[in-house]
Symmetry: C2
Subunit: 339 residues, 2 copies
């Protein structure tokens, strides 16, 4: 590895001058600068980021804790976050939060001075690690899933409004016998989606059948949704619409409909959540609520960068709108404009 000292020696200047040339804010004589530049090129010099970070107390690296990466949703978010980070000439260290190993690893890493800040995409309520991060005054942002009691920057989409919109859509089109398929965990996203949906039915005085609302801690899997939906759809007395708290659940319900010979959308409507790419495939053609993932990622990175620069800035809770994308699984029936 060639160092700034090697460059200095070669250019016949002091090492400090090399450093100055590197950050051309400082004034360096034209001739000296030329010699340094030449020496750098000849030696193929790359400054050592480690040493710079040690001096500046700034690493240029951001830690990201992803939700289960083997889902259709999180790669979308990671991709967008990664692009925004790269655009700013920063780097991204990634943890997959499966088994909750990610959070503690991220905390340890930032405490060891390797990171400037942290982005959590899959915060769980009552996470001890998250509370620790907050207490230690570490710059961080919650995106996608949040934790109510934590005071910090948050970027979400309005999951409650999303659930409500689906409920209004079902009701407005006479689909009152509805099921909810998905996790009953207290993750902020699924909880809000469920709440928005349920509250709207309650508000309009339409009863929901408890036996048509699935339970379970595991979010977002196709197979669990399939198993849960088959008995519900197979029964003589079955729902005429199903709200799924994530797209994989939606795909599972579509498979359940196929297996029980219920025709979508004639017999039963199905709506998913996240509008991942597969929704538009003809096999599925699944109506789904879209979150503005790219915008969420952009703002999350923006907020974190700001937080790193200004640790005492007021916290921002940025909530984007979300929108139901209508497809064949709800008969392509358009949304009423009043909704």
């Amino acid at each position: 590895m060639t160092t700034s000292n090697d460059v200095a020696r070669r250019a016949g200047v002091s090492q400090a001058t090399v450093s100055r040339v590197l950050h051309d804010n400082a004034r360096v004589g034209a001739e000296a600068r030329a010699r340094v530049l030449a020496a750098m090129a000849e030696l193929n010099y790359v400054p050592n980021a480690q040493a710079r970070a040690m001096r500046l107390q700034r690493t240029g690296t951001i830690g990201v804790v992803s939700g289960k990466i083997k889902t259709p949703f999180f790669p979308q978010l990671i991709d967008a976050i990664g692009s925004n980070i790269a655009d700013r000439n920063l780097r991204m260290v990634l943890w997959n939060s499966e088994e909750n190993r990610g959070e503690p690893a991220a905390l340890e890493t930032i405490r060891s001075g390797l990171l400037d800040g942290l982005i959590f995409t899959s915060a769980r309520p009552h996470s001890a690690t998250l509370h620790q991060v907050a207490e230690l005054g570490i710059p961080f942002v919650l995106v996608n899933r949040t934790v109510d009691e934590l005071e910090c920057d948050k970027v979400t989409s309005d999951n409650e409004a999303g659930g409500r919109q689906v409920a209004q859509y079902f009701i407005a089109n006479g689909r009152h016998q509805v099921a909810i398929v998905g996790s009953s965990s207290d993750l902020s996203t699924v909880r809000a989606r469920r709440k928005g949906f349920v509250d709207e039915f309650t508000r309009q005085g339409i009863p929901l059948r408890p036996e048509w609302q699935t339970q379970g801690d595991e979010p977002y899997t196709h197979d669990l949704a399939l198993e849960a939906a088959v008995p519900i759809l197979a029964a003589e007395d079955h729902p005429d619409a199903v709200f799924c708290l994530g797209d994989p659940n939606g795909f599972g319900v579509l498979d359940a409909a196929r297996r029980t010979h219920r025709v979508v959308p004639t017999d039963v409507w199905v709506v998913g959540y996240d509008d991942t790419e597969m929704c538009s495939w003809e096999s599925f053609d699944l109506s789904s609520v879209r979150q503005p993932v790219d915008d969420m990622a952009r703002v999350a990175v923006e907020l974190l960068v700001r937080r790193i620069a200004e640790p005492d800035a007021p916290f921002i809770d940025h909530r984007f709108a979300s929108n139901l994308i209508v497809r064949g699984s709800t008969g392509n029936v358009p949304l009423k404009s009043t909704q």
Copy 2:
């Protein structure tokens, strides 16, 4: 941030002793050790990895350049690589290689001293950056996609054998009118899959129709496969089997069959590649060639770690077997044992 100096002061020992306690290989007096340990606990001390890295010339961080992360395949690989890295108490910096921005960024980062080694999952032939990495003597491993002319550690599955196996399966079951849907790019994976398949037909003297072999540089997308397959399947004279060079292509062809009213598997067999999770969903039930992704990731990390420790070890080219998983899209017809 509390430093080893703070701990030393508090414990009434020298800073060097704190450092020794940290790496308990060194002999430290029992009493001194106890005092240091106590001080560390009280001060909630975490050693600065930056400074350590600077001394040791080892960062404990590995860079990974992923292929397009918004596909079903790469997240699987990234997940597995990430787990193996985490198991070794290392960290992973990730780049998404879309637009080929990833490789140069990874190179720059390792040259700046922030990484110990690099894993490339989506090498392209003739990549200037990759050649540079090799010339600079940087420890790196190619996994999944490789580049023939590069001398380095490589971990792949036998894509050519995979293609051959599919060909033999089609032929043995009388499906001789076959199409190939997928990219015609020179990426090592799709090239080998195509070659293995084509060579086997040639070997057995069965002609292939050129107009049933799709072209295109973009690999692995559902929509391109759909558009390409529709005219092929719609024709009176259509293939009785389709080999798809990636699962998304397979799903696209299944959708094309649906659209053209061809019944799978009666009218046409379909086989994909990678056996991603969705293949087993009832909507698809797609036969597909499985790569041992977890094993590939494990070995890739092993090789890289070894390479970092022993820069001059002989290069290893580790090629795993791959296996066709039979499902409904080929009528669940079992493989002959002789194949």
